[in-house]
Structures are given as C-alpha cells and as structure tokens.
C-alpha cells in the first residue's frame, strides 16, 4: 500500500505506544505487532518525522556494549494523539452521514 496512506495510523500507533513508556526501535516493532504490521523501512521515516516535528525526543542508552536509541513522547506528541482522536471523531461523523445518505 501507498506508504503515505498508512502514515496517519502508524504515527498515532507509535505515539500511543510511547505514551505508555519510552521504547526503542525493535521493541516498537515487536509491541505493535498484531495491531499494525510495521517494518523497519516504514518505522524509520516515521520516527524521523516525529522527531523533526518535536513529537518525540531521542536519547541514547548503552546496552550490551553498544548504543541503543530510546524514543520518548513529548507534550507536542501527546497533543498530536488528542488531535488524531478528535479528527477521527469529526471524520466518523461525516463518514456516517455519507453512509446514511447513500444507503
């Protein structure tokens, strides 16, 4: 599927996961399994975008002799989740209106 179409959902999922606690790349993929199929090549641009938008911050932790990047949600990130949920409600109303009219 067109990666752009998937974007809104992936971003909201990643933010929602980070709202429950900081996480790192591979763990994000594992913990969203079953909710959304994320590949590394999908996740990377999403994390970069979220970072650029100030929705997440990044810090590095040493693990087993190497470095691991952790991602933490910011206030802006939490606002974005709320926006997503509000937007979804708006859209749902219009969607239901159209369905009703079309049926």
């Amino acid at each position: 599927m067109d990666a752009q179409l998937k974007r809104g959902l992936v971003e909201a999922c990643v933010l929602s996961l980070l709202a429950r606690g900081d996480s790192y790349g591979y763990l994000i993929i594992k913990e969203t399994q079953g909710v959304i199929e994320l590949s590394e090549s999908t996740l990377y641009p999403v994390l970069r975008r979220l970072e650029a938008a100030g929705a997440v911050t990044v810090y590095t932790v040493e693990h087993a002799g190497r470095l691991r990047k952790y991602y933490a949600i910011t206030g802006a990130g939490r606002t974005r989740i709320d926006e997503f949920l509000t937007e979804w409600d708006d859209v749902k109303r219009v969607y239901e209106f159209i369905r009703g009219e079309r049926q």
């Binding site: 599927m1 090549s41 990377y44």
Partner: protein
Amino acid sequence: MTKAEFLAALKRALPEDEAEQTLAFYNEMIDDRMEDGMSEEEAVAAMGPVSQLAGRAAAAEAEAPKQDGGDQPIKERIEQKLEAWEPQKMRFTAQAETVRDLRIKARNMPVTVTSWDRNEIDIVYYTSEREPYSVTVDGSTVSLAPDWLNEDGHFEFSFTGENVLDLLGRVFTGVRKQFRLTVEVCVPRELAARLTVETSNGGVSMENIDCWGDVSLSTRNARVQVKNASAKTITLVSSNGAVSLVSAKISGAAEVHTSNSGVTVVDCSAGDLLDVKTSNAHIEAVNDRAKTVNLVTSNSRITVGNIAAEDITLKTSNGRITGVLPGCMSDYAITSGTSNGKNNLPNGTQGAKKLSAHTSNSSIDIQFSE
C-alpha cells in the same frame, strides 16, 4: 549478506550527509534482532531490499514535518483532497502486430473497445496522484492496471483520520468525476491477440472487432455489451448488470453470466457451447446457433426464437418459457415440466436433438417452425 555488507550497500545508496543516522538505526535494528535469536543473515534479510530502505529514508530526510491541517474545517479539507485529484489523460500506443495479449484492468470506470482502420492498439486512460494507472509491456503482453491495488486486486484501507479523508475524497470524486472518465481502447478490426477487460461500476463494450483469441469482459454493477464481433471464445461476466451479445461469431464456447439483470443473445453462433446464466431477470435468445445452448435463470421468463442447436436446455422458475424453435417437434427428444402452469410440450419423446424445458408456477409455450 552480512551486516557489514548490508550497511556498506546502504551507505552507497544514501546521500552522504544523511547516511549516518540511517546507518545507526539499521545497525541497531540488526543487532537487536540477532540478540533476539536471529542469525546475522536472517536479521539482515528482515530489513528488506537496500534500494527500498534507501528510498524511504532519503524521502524522510528530505521531507519537512508534515502539516496536518490544524484547525481547518473538515469540509475545506475534503475540498482540498478533491482539488488534489486531477486526472490526467494518458495515451498509450503500440504496433498491433507486437501485441498478443491485451489486458485492461480498471476500477469504477467504463471501458470501451472499438476498432479503427489503423494497425495500432491505442489505449486512452486517466491517471492521477490519487488513483495512478500505468501501462506495462511484458514481451507481447500489454497491460493497463491501477497501481494502487495490492497484488490480490484489493484496495487496502486502514481507518486512520487521514485515510478516511482520503476515502471521503474517493467517494465524492467518484460521484463528481470518476464516472465521466472512460478507458477507451482502439484496435484494428482484425485483432490478433487475446483480450481481457476487467472493471467495476462501469460498463464494458466491444464493437466491430474480429478477435483471433479469447475474449473475456467483466464488470460489476454495470452492463456488458458486445456487437459485431468474433472471437475464439468469449466470456462476458457482470453482476447486477445487463449483458447483451449481438451479431457475434464465436468458434468455441460463449459464456454469458450475470445476476439480477437481463441477458440478450441475438444473431450469434458458437462452435461449441452457448451458456447463459442469470437470476431474477429474463433471457432472450433469438437467431442463435451453437452445439449446445443452456439458458438458465430464475423468477423470470425465457424467450427463444429460432435457436439452432443439438442440445437445448431452458430452465427457470416462476417465469414463462415461450418462443419458436426450428424444425418440427418430432426432431427433438423432449423433457419438460412445470408446476401450476400450462405446458404445451410433451415429455419423453424421441428425436435426434435434445430439448429440456423446465419452470415452475408458470407456463411453457414453445412452437415449432414446421
């Protein structure tokens, strides 16, 4: 591929100033997967093809943080989505003799196939950022297909805010624009290829074409019409749409299947089988010739006129079977039956040709020309 080889290949594929972050990310991902029990080979393979990763990573770096519209009212945002959908008219042309297999796949759009006096195959179609189409040439196969469908032919959809906006765009667009657009295919009168057309919610028509190969035309919720045509075999499929086959010469089998809509087959010959199936709608077959003719529907009538065949089956329910067949009644081995209706045919007679006519709650009235 080892991790080192993978990272080196990725580095080569990335612009220099963007490589570091990306490489660090994939390096960590591979390490984490190996720590989780994968072999180095498996972990590298799990990342996917380098070209794809590089493309997506570069796009992410190049892109400014996405503006998602903020406080704009939903209606304006939908309008914007609509403005973004501007179909662009495209034309593909190929020398007819290079094409042996012509495949047209569309969605929510009618498709017309007509002939002209040029020795070229010409496809006029519409593409847009929202619903991209492209024509591909693979050897002697020419295919028009939508690029946004997955391999199963299904449009994938997730209910995110953005996707729903997209869906709304599609819905409005569908009403406003899509149905005006038609895929127009022009071929020489003699088409030395097989022809496959698949669409939905838009009709398919084929006219004035002598096709050397198999012809298959299918849609949903719309008509299929074929006129003045010949083909090796022909398959016409719709659902909830009428199908007509007029003045056609088919050397093999002709199959015409739909539902909840009528079928008309007039002045047609099929070397083998003429098989017509629908439901809840009538079948009319006049001046047709085939080895075997099956006309099957339900809850509606079957009308026949001058059907020449060795084996004729007429089957419906709650509908009349009427018409005229060539020859005299004794030419046919007849089995017939109805319930709650008149039946002018005998049952269990002998004859060189077979005729089977069955309905229920209605009458059978078949006359013979001699």
